[in-house]
């Protein structure tokens, strides 16, 4: 692999140390878990996203260069999956379940309330850069619907009353 993509990267003139040591260490660890670099490519995107919030063009190039994978192929993978963000997101990503059980339990109404509170619709980031609202398929807590995740945390049995308190917890300076 690698041949043509290298040239592309040469023209982007990324600093050689774009990926930080921690990221590189984590990517190298993933390498030990998979017999093929392609598999590490997707893992590396997740790692970079974990550190930087999203996968910018530069990050994509850097990962491609580091692993010797074609950029176009990596882009094809990055844009396939729901949880790789190719656009900047807020400090906290809200994954909002809008699948069937939550829908039956009124998630649309709760979502309206969230949109009102944060001033954002699906796919948008609040003005203060704190929250991005992304719809996701069923979060697997259907008996306690409606459900959402904020960052890594699951919040269940949402109703119009408990939202404010939840969001307050994630605002900067409060955690």
């Amino acid at each position: 692999m690698s041949s043509m993509s290298e040239r592309l990267i040469a023209s982007t003139a990324l600093p050689a140390d774009y990926l930080n040591e921690e990221e590189i260490a984590e990517i190298e660890h993933e390498r030990t878990l998979y017999p093929d670099t392609r598999a590490v490519g997707l893992e590396a995107l997740k790692i970079v996203q974990k550190h930087r919030g999203w996968v910018s063009d530069e990050s994509l190039f850097a990962v491609a260069e580091y692993l010797g994978l074609p950029v176009a192929e990596l882009e094809g993978v990055a844009t396939f999956f729901n949880l790789i963000y190719r656009q900047p997101v807020g400090r906290n990503v809200i994954l909002y379940c809008k699948s069937v059980s939550c829908w039956i339990m009124g998630c649309d109404e709760v979502k309206e309330k969230i949109s009102g509170e944060l001033g954002i619709d699906y796919g948008e980031t609040s003005e203060d850069g704190e929250f991005t609202l992304i719809p996701v398929p069923c979060l697997g807590d259907c008996d306690r619907a409606p459900v959402m995740m904020v960052g890594p945390d699951q919040h269940r049995n949402l109703d119009e009353k408990n939202l404010g308190e939840i969001f307050a917890r994630y605002r900067k300076g409060r955690d």
Binding site: S2, L8, A10, P70
Partner: protein, 917 residues
């Protein structure tokens, strides 16, 4: 040939015999049935994505319900019962096409695919004609993909063929499927030139108008309005079959013409986009005297014959056989000289000698694809014989096919075969002075200087056969490579004449010879064994043809011709389609032409040689003439005239005045030059054409014929006559039934696209039903012995000079086409980082080369994988005296010449440009 196993299946109540091991779609198409499909491609197998080829399959005689199945994904089983006509199957296929069309822009009137669109054909065939979808369509942004290809994503039907061809088949890396569900997008990661040398095939692989020919766009014409004829690509020595199309006297485009043994369905981008020179305003249109005055044709012809009285003739590897023969006849056999460099001359002699050696076999492209271990010696195949590089890429896939056989996965199950094999490939070892564009599939690479490569090759031969000469120096990969070649079922050695390194060809012969000997011992207890594949690539479209004219006069080199002229031994010279400055040291050419009393040049574009001529005769371009060429295999093929001559240009055989008709020239050549004894066989079999009836060059729907020239004269002009071939410059006539070489274009009822070719094949991917794929001229003679290659002494202090080839820029005529020029770089010298540092060279800056008493300036191109000690010079269209520089050069920094720079260079190992540039 072994007979293929057959099985019986029943389709809509009729029983047929079909090929066992195949799939239903392929067999239905072989049987001539109209079963629609998209994602399947005859050369790329099945993936089952589009679901367009659905048929009903019944379990047994009792089963009347049946199950829907995708024909392309269903193996033929003995006794299988299927239905194409079943109402449910038809309804489903109609559903699929309706789905595919829901977001399609329905822009056929402005779409360049219109009239040869597989999607149009299939839409009709599947019975979709009314649009019910009334919701919002999905739309996409198009990308800039460079000077060759347009992108119109809204026409996409998501068949995945483009990425399957571009990435999996051709090894490209800058096109991918992106996003998902109905937003799936096919493009680059961002705007930019598509890097693959085979990108043009996307135009034909895409079943609709997503990827179209940008060069053609500039002067677009519908397929049915193009005048077409079967032709041969003149881009390199492979001789791919093409169909050029003309309108209003201009060559508009080139598409692939199927040949089962050679190019199959694909050609390279030089071949497709490199013919713009034919329409160049600078084309020579009238005979000129030395002062640039126009002459009338008769006077010019007379002058030529006068000059011929005491002349040397210099032939041309880019001119056809009849032109070379006419010149040879005009000046006499003893005065006819080679038109390529002396180094190439020697290589050609050796190549032809090896072609006559029964121990070796020069394989066709189809056969190259079957190799299961390959050794490439010093030839940058992607840049010198691109279509063969594509074939070598397929050869490494044989390992996957072998694994698939073992796992009972049918070979046509393309995705499954690739998933099973992952990175496992048949071995491909490349001996080169630096990185090549096949490295990504190479199992081993030996990187060294030209002389170092020879030493390694000698060593490898020694490892195969103890009696072959060997040296001490060796490379760790050699042991492995020797083992792989010995273990292979069908090993292949590839070398060529391009770099003029005859010792490498000798070493290649020794390697192949040793292999053959070992195989003979092994297979046959010392008896004879099958010959070993030794593919020797020739540089130009008719290098081999020119050689055959020189067979009996091997001493008639170009150097000898120049010497005879400089010394006054011969007074005049007639140069056929050749810029001598590309072939020999400039000082020698100057001396010869200055000494010559009269210089006559026949060519189609002005160049440094025509500038020195006392008589210039314009000749026809490849698409304006009928002629035969001989490719690297020794295969003679006939190319037909597609359109009228440019101005007063005519084929060289007409200028010499010895022949009235093309046929005469060809048959006289066949009759008087022993090597061409079988040339007459290239003439088509027209026995089924009633007398006077010809094959039309224009389609039945050719429009505007009477109005085309109405701005000049309202009277309809008389159609041009073609007394020279079986083809007519008109719509009248009938398509050929006996001989596929006169198939002017591929079309069948309901099949307007190039996929109609299946209607002409005896089976999918098989020879064309009408037969005739050219004539192999070279005969086997006697076995030769071992050679004694002598590696050049590389220790002269300087760097060993070798030529660097580029698909876009190295071939003389194509590099005068606008589209190709957009992809060309300046002349450059590729060196290793160490040598660059030693000589104070910087990436992209200038370098002064000195050697052989002359100097030249080029751009520095530092490549991490170049062998230290080697310097590869790409001349391109710069007036660099390559042959004058000699075999060793000294380097020094210099100012960079203003020009195109290195921007368009696509190599894997370019050292990063310095930030300030």
């Amino acid at each position: 040939m072994t007979e293929k196993a057959k099985v019986e299946i029943t389709i809509d109540g009729v029983t047929y015999e079909v090929n066992a091991g195949s799939n239903l779609l392929q067999e239905c198409l072989t049987l001539g049935m109209d079963l629609p499909y998209f994602c399947w491609h005859p050369c790329m197998g099945s993936v089952g994505a589009c679901r367009q080829c659905a048929v009903k399959q019944y379990r047994d005689a009792e089963d009347s319900a049946g199950l829907m199945t995708m024909a392309c994904m269903t193996p033929v089983q003995p006794g299988a019962r299927i239905s194409i006509e079943d109402a449910e199957a038809k309804a489903f296929r109609a559903g699929v096409i309706e789905s595919l069309m829901i977001s399609h822009p329905h822009d056929c009137p402005v779409c360049e695919e219109g009239g040869e669109c597989h999607l149009q054909d299939m839409t009709l065939m599947s019975g979709h004609n009314y649009r019910r979808y009334d919701k919002k369509k999905v739309t996409h942004r198009n990308q800039y993909l460079g000077p060759f290809i347009n992108h119109e994503m809204n026409r996409c039907i998501t068949c995945y063929r483009c990425v399957r061809f571009y990435n999996e088949y051709a090894g490209g890396e800058d096109l991918s499927a992106q996003a998902s569900h109905h937003f799936t997008y096919f493009g680059r990661h961002r705007d930019g030139t598509l890097e693959s040398e085979f990108s043009g095939n996307l135009v034909e692989v895409c079943p609709t108008g997503v990827f179209t020919d940008k060069v053609f766009s500039e002067n677009y014409t519908r397929k049915w309005d193009l005048q077409t004829a079967p032709s041969i690509c003149t881009g390199c020595g492979v001789g791919c079959n093409i169909t050029p199309g003309e309108r209003y006297g201009e060559l508009r485009r080139v598409v692939n013409r199927y040949h089962s043994e050679l190019n199959g369905y694909f050609i390279c981008d030089r071949g497709r986009f490199g013919t713009g020179y034919v329409n160049d305003a600078a084309r020579l249109a009238t005979p000129l005297d030395g002062a640039g005055n126009e002459l009338d044709a008769e006077a010019a012809g007379r002058q030529l014959r006068e000059i011929a009285g005491n002349a040397i003739g210099i032939g041309s590897p880019r001119a056809g056989n009849e032109a070379n023969f006419a010149l040879r006849k005009l000046v006499g056999e003893e005065n006819f000289h080679a038109g390529y460099s002396d180094a190439e001359h020697a290589c050609m002699q050796l190549a032809a000698e090896l072609a006559g050696d029964p121990r070796f076999y020069n394989p066709s492209i189809r056969e190259i694809e079957q190799a299961d271990a390959v050794l490439v010696l010093g030839e940058d195949v992607t840049n010198t014989a691109p279509r063969i590089a594509l074939a070598l890429r397929q050869s490494v896939h044989n390992k996957a096919l072998e694994l698939a056989d073992g796992a009972n996965i049918p070979r046509w199950q393309d995705a499954a075969v690739r998933e099973l094999a992952q990175q496992e490939r048949s071995p491909l070892c490349i001996f080169a002075c630096g990185a090549t564009r096949l490295d990504d599939v190479a199992s081993d690479r030996v990187i060294d200087t030209p002389s170092g490569l020879v030493r390694n090759a000698i060593e490898l031969a020694g490892r195969l056969d103890a009696s072959a000469p060997r040296t001490a120096k060796s490379h760790e990969a050699l042991e492995r490579v020797a083992g792989q070649l010995l273990a292979a079922r069908r090993p292949l050695i590839v070398a060529g004449t391009s770099s003029g390194n005859i010792d490498l060809i000798k070493a290649a012969a020794n390697i192949a010879g040793a292999l053959q000997k070992r195989r003979a011992v092994h297979e046959n207890h010392g008896g004879t064994a099958a010959p070993v594949d030794l593919c020797l690539l020739t540089a130009e479209v008719n290098s081999m043809g020119l050689h055959l004219h020189l067979m009996t006069r091997q001493e008639n080199s170009l150097g000898e011709a120049l010497r005879k002229l400089s010394s006054g031994e011969t007074a005049n010279v007639i140069v056929l389609e050749n810029d001598l400055y590309r072939r020999a040291p400039h000082a020698q050419v100057d001396a010869a032409l200055d000494a010559a009393r009269k210089t006559a040049v026949l060519d189609l574009l002005p160049n440094r040689t025509t500038a020195k001529a006392d008589l210039v005769l314009p000749v026809t371009a490849f698409s304006e003439q009928q002629t035969s060429y001989v490719n690297y295999e020794g295969r003679a093929q006939l190319a037909y005239q597609v359109h009228r001559n440019h101005g007063a240009a005519c084929p060289a055989w007409q200028w010499t005045g010895d022949f009235e008709h093309f046929r005469q020239a060809l048959l006289d050549c066949a009759g008087s030059v022993a090597a061409f004894a079988k040339l007459g066989e290239v003439l088509p079999d027209t026995s089924n054409l009633p007398s006077g009836i010809k094959v039309p060059r224009q389609s039945e729907r050719y429009s505007g014929r009477t109005a085309m020239k109405a701005n000049l004269n309202v009277h309809e002009p008389k159609q041009a006559q073609d007394p020279e071939s079986a083809l007519a410059f008109s719509m009248e006539g009938i398509p050929p039934r006996r001989d596929a070489t006169i198939l002017a274009s591929s079309w069948a009822p309901q099949w307007n696209s190039n996929q109609s070719i299946s209607k002409f094949q005896d089976e999918i991917n098989g020879p064309l039903r009408q037969g005739h794929g050219g004539t192999l001229l070279l005969e086997k003679k006697s076995e030769g012995g071992e050679f004694k290659p002598v590696p050049a002494n590389g220790d002269g202090g300087g760097l060993e000079l070798l030529p660097a080839f580029q698909i876009f820029g190295s071939e003389e005529l194509s590099s005068r086409s606008e589209a190709i020029r957009a992809r060309m770089t300046d002349a450059y010298l590729a060196v290793s980082p160490a040598d660059a540092e030693r000589h104070g060279l910087q990436q992209g800056r200038g370098v002064r080369l000195s050697g052989g008493g002359i100097e030249a300036i080029a751009l520095t191109c530092i490549r991490t994988q170049m062998s230290p000690g080697a310097a590869a010079l790409h001349v391109g269209d710069a007036e660099i005296d390559y042959h004058g520089l000699g075999s060793q050069v000294e380097l020094a920094p210099a100012d960079a010449p203003e020009g195109r720079g290195l921007g368009e260079l696509i190599v894997s190992d370019l050292v990063r440009m310095r930030e300030e540039r």
